[in-house]
Symmetry: C3
Subunit: 278 residues, 3 copies
Amino acid sequence: MAGPSGIITLLTDFGLSDAYVGAVKGAVLAIAPRVTLVDITHQVPPQNIRHGAYLLGQSWHTFPPGTVHLAVVDPGVGTARRGLAFHVGGHYLVGPDNGLFTCALFPDLLPRNPALHPFAPFIAAMPDACEAVVLDKPSYWRHPVSSTFHARDVFGPVAARLASGIPLSALGTPTSDLTTLYIPRAVNDHSTVWGLVLHVDVFGNLLTNIPAGLVAARNVRVEVAGRTIYGLSSTYGAATGLAAVVSSNGHLEIALPKGSAARELGVVAGEPITVQLA
Amino acid sequence: MAGPSGIITLLTDFGLSDAYVGAVKGAVLAIAPRVTLVDITHQVPPQNIRHGAYLLGQSWHTFPPGTVHLAVVDPGVGTARRGLAFHVGGHYLVGPDNGLFTCALFPDLLPRNPALHPFAPFIAAMPDACEAVVLDKPSYWRHPVSSTFHARDVFGPVAARLASGIPLSALGTPTSDLTTLYIPRAVNDHSTVWGLVLHVDVFGNLLTNIPAGLVAARNVRVEVAGRTIYGLSSTYGAATGLAAVVSSNGHLEIALPKGSAARELGVVAGEPITVQLA
Amino acid sequence: MAGPSGIITLLTDFGLSDAYVGAVKGAVLAIAPRVTLVDITHQVPPQNIRHGAYLLGQSWHTFPPGTVHLAVVDPGVGTARRGLAFHVGGHYLVGPDNGLFTCALFPDLLPRNPALHPFAPFIAAMPDACEAVVLDKPSYWRHPVSSTFHARDVFGPVAARLASGIPLSALGTPTSDLTTLYIPRAVNDHSTVWGLVLHVDVFGNLLTNIPAGLVAARNVRVEVAGRTIYGLSSTYGAATGLAAVVSSNGHLEIALPKGSAARELGVVAGEPITVQLA
């Protein structure tokens, strides 16, 4: 198990206009005053677990091993939903059991399952290499525990304990299942790839689940929302009009340089994308 | 007097789109390069002292003792308004003398005073447990001192000095009064509580001055803006429609899950709320 | 050459709603886990190099010597545009060669050149006191290098190396020219100053290139967008209506207290301003 890096990242839907993020950071620093706090984002659309899961999946792995990732998009706060902490790939993850850790825990995404709608939650078995506990040791929390602010009172303090070297196993009871969002991987045959828009970024770029390896160096025809894009552009700078590029995470991305592909196409997360390989 | 924690929090109305916050942080780090800087928020509505005072009051106490809280919402910058630094409850506060520290210094809020409008400023005596100085020692500032940017040139450097262990008494001349906003506490008799909306958060939740202890475990009827809410919900998740919950700071909160209570009710800070106790 | 301060500032147009900034910070901390990261802003309008150049110029000098300033507004990412690192005035600068460092490298701005439009890019000689290298040593980068995210894969890692004490000369090949924006200094005769709005801040204040020394303590008449302002106000608080003040960076600023001068005047960066000296 990696020793702590002394770094805690934060990802929430709290916004930056209130003092909620500040209160969480204070609660963390009251336990671990020397820790380095790094904001991933606090502008996940309110209660949009899928959106948060994607952003966490895009960023956690760039941090050094031993980093603690505190993620709270938590519409079920105060209800019976569980709080979890994970140790996986040398990193720690802390937050509610609602699917928020799907992309971090399943980086290859999930095999096709026609019984599920994209992004629907279901109960999955814990990945093999992942150790996880249900947070049920109140002695490690901040008291009194509010029923509406577990980021400050439960998850923040637990993240601070992990960053201070308290072992995961001390913080809760082992569990072997978790809530997961059905975020499917792309499927393909020799001539076609069927994928999905997983995320629309703030520039209106469409980030997909189609690995660049399936389409790069190929004479491709991308079909999305009734429009067809011919070929891949090597950079944003090289593109004119709606373009297919390789994203910074190695997947197919649809972009409109100096514009918003999402607005141009009227597309949101979940939109199907088909790539014809010539 | 608590030794410094090495942490400085920042709360301003500077926004995040300009370089003003960065310039303040640079000025702080030029004096105290190892300090940990934590943003509470920089999105206080421009010059809204009351709003800033509430957010500071919600967050400062979660930080460890010895933390310095730098707060600058300062419509009077460059005029004769005083700059102050406080030591209270083991923490330090630094900023303009315009009421911004009201909630931090008077956590129980103020007794009823029919002569004052809610949120009106007045001159109050310093609370007993609070030591305060007027910032009048330019040798601790950054020079030249701009007439429009005391956060960078006066308050930031003073916060950095406190975080570096310079004693409060060295930084200015003791004072025994300060500008305070009239933020009243709720009043009640055996059947009714009269309170006020103190703050509307970014989700449109209404945060009030009514302690949960006055209304919890009671069969309450909440009246606000011509609408009536029956009973308290234990969590956001348990509520449907407009709901009264216990906020994360232990007060009555009016929320509209998946919506904005403020917009639904057309309510801003200052709105009266009445609770009938059955 | 100044030793590293252990501080890295960041200025980008990535916004705060995605995980891009977080991914850059992770990549930096993976190399230099103990560094202090400070956001200048991430809300430069997309691809607005001029805007970013101004904000960097306003903030970098407040930091202690040895600080590394990572700035990425990079419409040409993935094309042939060069990446650069500079050592100047005891600080380090890292980012794309597109004019983003103009205000930092030329604090006195540029002499009049009627052949250029304001803000147009051109190739300039490196300032005398500035040492610079072209980033061409991939061994110091993060791999694989994305063609669309050099902040994470090239500039962030290079900034982390500099903050770790790797010398500038190790990171690339010396160069003696760079892309610069034509940001002209004000010109004057004994009765008139001709200047320009360089930047409109988030409050709608107009920041100009007219040094306060040219106009302060003078009976001035400011002409901008068909309006005339008589005299300088000493502070925002002292002004009523459209006002000319001395900005926090020692230049003429046009402000509308409790309003937006930019909206009132319909003005953007580049607008001429004339000051008549009585």
